[in-house]
């Protein structure tokens, strides 16, 4: 079949639109969300722009890392969303401001009212969501999941090391660095909550290229003691990777 390239006409754009839709061999979002993929899945993601892009976006969504200049807006949106959905949780803590119920769609207001009726007089006041403050990497926390410390998100330089918070009861950590398509670049095991970035990862950390890294915590017998975690990082364009 003839693929018209580049997409300079309506028919060409339509063709690309169809070609870039998720196909029957595309991975489910559940699979795309996994840090590590099996060989067949990796092979598909490497050759499928749809799955490759979807996986990059999903890993970014999971990581939820801030970008420059958006912190205040994102905080406001999160707070506002919570206020609209669970007004009882914030009503006694702060006066309503900004976008009020009067600006909500009718269906949303009705739904909220219905929920309120269903719940009756059950009101609860909770503390606002805690703001994440990175702690000392060496500190020990009891946690349901490994907490990644760095590298996270966009970087100005290739990271010197990979660091996470120590997990109570962990005797060793398995660390992996992966391409977005799931191809494993490097793997190691360590007893410390950090590891120096090896040359193979430095070389792979090309500008504007997203890499994923994952950490699993295990006790002395090899049993998991926390949920494994993953994160992504990306060296900004224009930075020369060391060791490349």
């Amino acid at each position: 079949m003839n693929t018209p390239i580049p997409p300079d006409s309506d028919s060409a754009r339509q063709h690309w639109n169809e070609a870039l839709a998720a196909g029957p061999l595309c991975l489910s979002l559940e699979r795309l969300a996994e840090p590590a993929l099996d060989a067949g899945e990796q092979a598909h993601v490497q050759t499928c722009p749809r799955c490759h892009t979807e996986r990059a976006l999903m890993l970014d969504f999971e990581a939820a890392l801030p970008a420059d200049g958006e912190g205040a807006a994102v905080e406001w949106i999160a707070r506002e969303t919570r206020r609209r959905l669970f007004p009882e949780a914030v009503a006694e803590r702060q006066p309503a401001h900004g976008v009020g119920w009067w600006r909500l769609p009718t269906w949303a207001t009705s739904m909220a009212a219905g929920l309120a009726i269903a719940v009756g007089a059950y009101l609860m006041v909770r503390s606002p969501s805690p703001v994440f403050e990175p702690g000392e990497p060496g500190a020990v926390y009891r946690t349901a999941a490994v907490e990644m410390v760095s590298p996270l998100g966009d970087l100005d330089a290739v990271p010197a090391e990979l660091t996470w918070r120590a997990v109570d009861g962990a005797a060793r950590y398995e660390v992996r660095v992966l391409e977005v398509d799931g191809t494993e670049i490097w793997r190691t095991t360590t007893s410390s909550p950090s590891v120096a970035t090896p040359d193979v990862v430095r070389a792979a950390a090309k500008p504007a290229r997203t890499l994923a890294w994952a950490v699993a915590a295990m006790d002395a017998s090899g049993r998991p003691v926390a949920e494994p975690a993953s994160a992504t990082f990306r060296v900004a364009a224009g930075v020369t990777p060391q060791g490349a």
């Binding site: 559940e30 999160a78 719940v119 949920e227």
Partner: protein
């Protein structure tokens, strides 16, 4: 009871078994973990906080409506991503006056394809050539920009924010570069007589 250390899946399990009053509390606790994640995505999509808050609200209202039926075929955050992405693209279609897809399409736990063998082969062969050209010709960022722009009809300014592109002209530069490379590639392919 404190659910601070519980996983999302444990919270969901408790939610399914809870009384109506407790369900609301459990949903609130679950959502607290994800407001920022959804807010960030929506803000990058719209570039404006009021409309992003409307989008985020729609996402969580949809999640709340279907939380009972979510059976955990995927992680909660994966399901949430699916709904967030769907809501953002639906907003794009609404803004352009195009018919919306059913919400239900995005609200199943995780959609998986189940085509017959003939359909599978036909669809795959149609896409394979295009994919090969893209993979052979474009770099990673160009492919992502191209896929979102031509595959999802996503505007370039949205893509710039979603991919956090910091170059002066954002996604536009990548599209220009991609089209130039594709034009060069097709001339090369035509010259060799390899066009399928």
């Amino acid at each position: 009871m404190s659910w601070q250390d519980a996983s999302d899946e444990e919270l969901l399990q408790a939610y399914r078994q809870a009384t109506p009053a407790d369900k609301r509390e459990l949903a609130s606790q679950l959502f607290d973990r994800h407001y920022t994640r959804v807010a960030r995505w929506c803000f990058r999509f719209t570039g404006e906080r009021e409309s992003a808050a409307d989008l985020a609200q729609n996402v969580f209202v949809n999640v709340y409506r279907h939380l009972e039926s979510f059976q955990g075929a995927s992680r909660f955050s994966t399901w949430l991503y699916t709904i967030t992405r769907h809501e953002c693209l639906a907003r794009l279609r609404r803004d352009r006056g195009r018919p919306e897809e059913s919400d239900e399409d995005a609200l199943v736990d995780v959609p998986t394809a189940d085509p017959g063998p003939d359909t599978l082969a036909e669809q795959q062969s149609r896409a394979d050539y295009a994919h090969k050209v893209l993979v052979d010709t474009l770099d990673e960022v160009e492919r992502q920009v191209f896929t979102l722009h031509y595959g999802d009809d996503m505007p370039l300014d949205h893509i710039t924010r979603l991919l956090r592109l910091t170059n002066a002209s954002g996604a536009k530069a990548y599209i220009v570069s991609a089209k130039r490379k594709l034009a060069k590639a097709v001339r090369r392919i035509d010259a060799r007589g390899e066009r399928l």
